[in-house]
Symmetry: C2
Amino acid sequence: MTKISVDKVEGDIDYDAVRKEFGIENMEPYLHKIKKPSLMYRRGIVFGHRDFGQVNDAITKSRRFAVLTGINPSSPLHLGHLMFLNQAKFFQDHGADVFIPISNDETYVFRKTDDLEKAKQTALNDVIPSIIALGFDSKKTRIFISTEYKKVYELAVKISTKTTFSTVKAIFGFNNDTNPGQIFYSIVQSAHILIPQLEEFGGPKPVVVPIGVDQDPYMRLVRDIAERAGFMKPSSTYHKFLIGLQGGKMSSSKPESCIFLNDDPSVAEKKIKRAFSGGAGSLEEHRKSGGNPDIDVACQYLYYFFEEDDNKVKKIFDDYRSGKLTSGEVKSNLAEKVKAFLAEHQRKKEKAKKEVDKFLLK
Amino acid sequence: MTKISVDKVEGDIDYDAVRKEFGIENMEPYLHKIKKPSLMYRRGIVFGHRDFGQVNDAITKSRRFAVLTGINPSSPLHLGHLMFLNQAKFFQDHGADVFIPISNDETYVFRKTDDLEKAKQTALNDVIPSIIALGFDSKKTRIFISTEYKKVYELAVKISTKTTFSTVKAIFGFNNDTNPGQIFYSIVQSAHILIPQLEEFGGPKPVVVPIGVDQDPYMRLVRDIAERAGFMKPSSTYHKFLIGLQGGKMSSSKPESCIFLNDDPSVAEKKIKRAFSGGAGSLEEHRKSGGNPDIDVACQYLYYFFEEDDNKVKKIFDDYRSGKLTSGEVKSNLAEKVKAFLAEHQRKKEKAKKEVDKFLLK
């Protein structure tokens, strides 16, 4: 479906071409309109959108809106999830209600676990406390487990009649071996995205869903269904690919490619020290010809997450490119920041385990 | 799928051929084994089964077993539903736990209502009280609304990976216009049937599902899924077609073809007086050449439901066949019995409205 090769995430993706291919709009005009933009906005990591205008309006006019991001509890949270959750937090700081579906059904029907109950327990004991620890406001954040919050199946049934098998087949490419749970999950995911517009949450409203372009098919389906079912079409924003620790794709099934939010800080440090480097072969060579921060994992992670100061991150990139800053030095810088973040996060997460009920829809 | 013409329900169905076509067993050997058989068993209205042996064993050895019959709340209950519910009551009298799923999702995805909420309200305010009024034991009867009891979707997700789209397509004949809710409903119906075997209800056990042969595809699917999902294969019994008031198929979408359990007794009487008759053209002719009780609606309804005494029903059939008993007389006999039943049922139903919570799984 997507022609973006997942091996080409080392800074050489042409995001103009991606926008054109997927028919999504450039985020550029909004990047300057939003007050107090997060680093993902300031740095153009959010590069595209569908229908962001209605979200921007809601922010500007202080109207009710929501942000939604789904978590597949097939693994503990890692930096890939953090990109979505940081955006959700950003929109919450701008007035949004936050909705976070935990799709244990997706984990199961796509065979990422053979135990649905285990996926639910991972969600309750690990994933949800980890989300809460990121600082969401319990009064404005609703988390729900897909098989546990009965409105999900009810809404999925309601909207299932607004589309046909041939439509979902064309979007997702099912075949005869597809199990019926996978087919129906396309509808369940649409239901997740429409939950914030139910009457009990104030009815139709703008909802923004931060995603990667690989998830765009789900947006196309839910936008198609939404209007026929009496909802507003949800908006989406698209962020750039985050490089994995080894330079390729980040995948929770390859733990060595990810920093997990429950990694021991010393483990995370080791992962960083071993990470793919954009430096030249030897230190001498690096000092002479410089490195490439666009493909250097440590530079990228500072840019995406851990160096909040725009001037500092620019200086790091410049110095790395000139050879003044070595790979080892950037890695040490990142490692210190990540270790501090993880220690703090894990401390907060322990406290958050007692807060789960305040956030959970049942 | 089924080759039985629904227009051929006037007593001329060859049930030997039906058993052969569907590959189901003759009920005959069990009809004499069961203690205190209900009239549907004594009269061979239950004509076939799959795997009834394990149910008979459970009855004989006083082991735990269950009976399940689903109700589609697209209309109030009518005599067609009563056939299933009478069998459920019969098995409860022989020790079974009764499970009754109310499939408001089926009503909706197959477009028998355009309001899922309305189907739920019909269930709560009308269908469930009407079921309770039939005399089920609140300690051994569990009723659940498909979108309201969250175990349904959870179990459907779990078992959805045990089959494939091509399997359900081969059984139900989906096409490109089928909506994804209809596809998934095949799995949801299987989940309904497996609910009695969940751990919270004592784990795997024999479960018997009384059905008409038109519903056999669902049994074939759930039996195929059951073993792979760690459950016992459910058993089924098959009952003969019940003739509609006008002599053809009974359909809740044609109110004139059904007696509803909430019909005013006087309305029911009028429906009976207008019902299709197996008598000869004129009274004189009838006296001379007699009528055919096998196609006479009044005779049939006495046989299926309202004349408990086997000797009396035999005499009615004999006398009708000889011409001694007229169509008007049989209709009057039936009408009196139906009016008394409806008045009593409706009185009990009013009381039952306060009992719903005792029966409902949430």
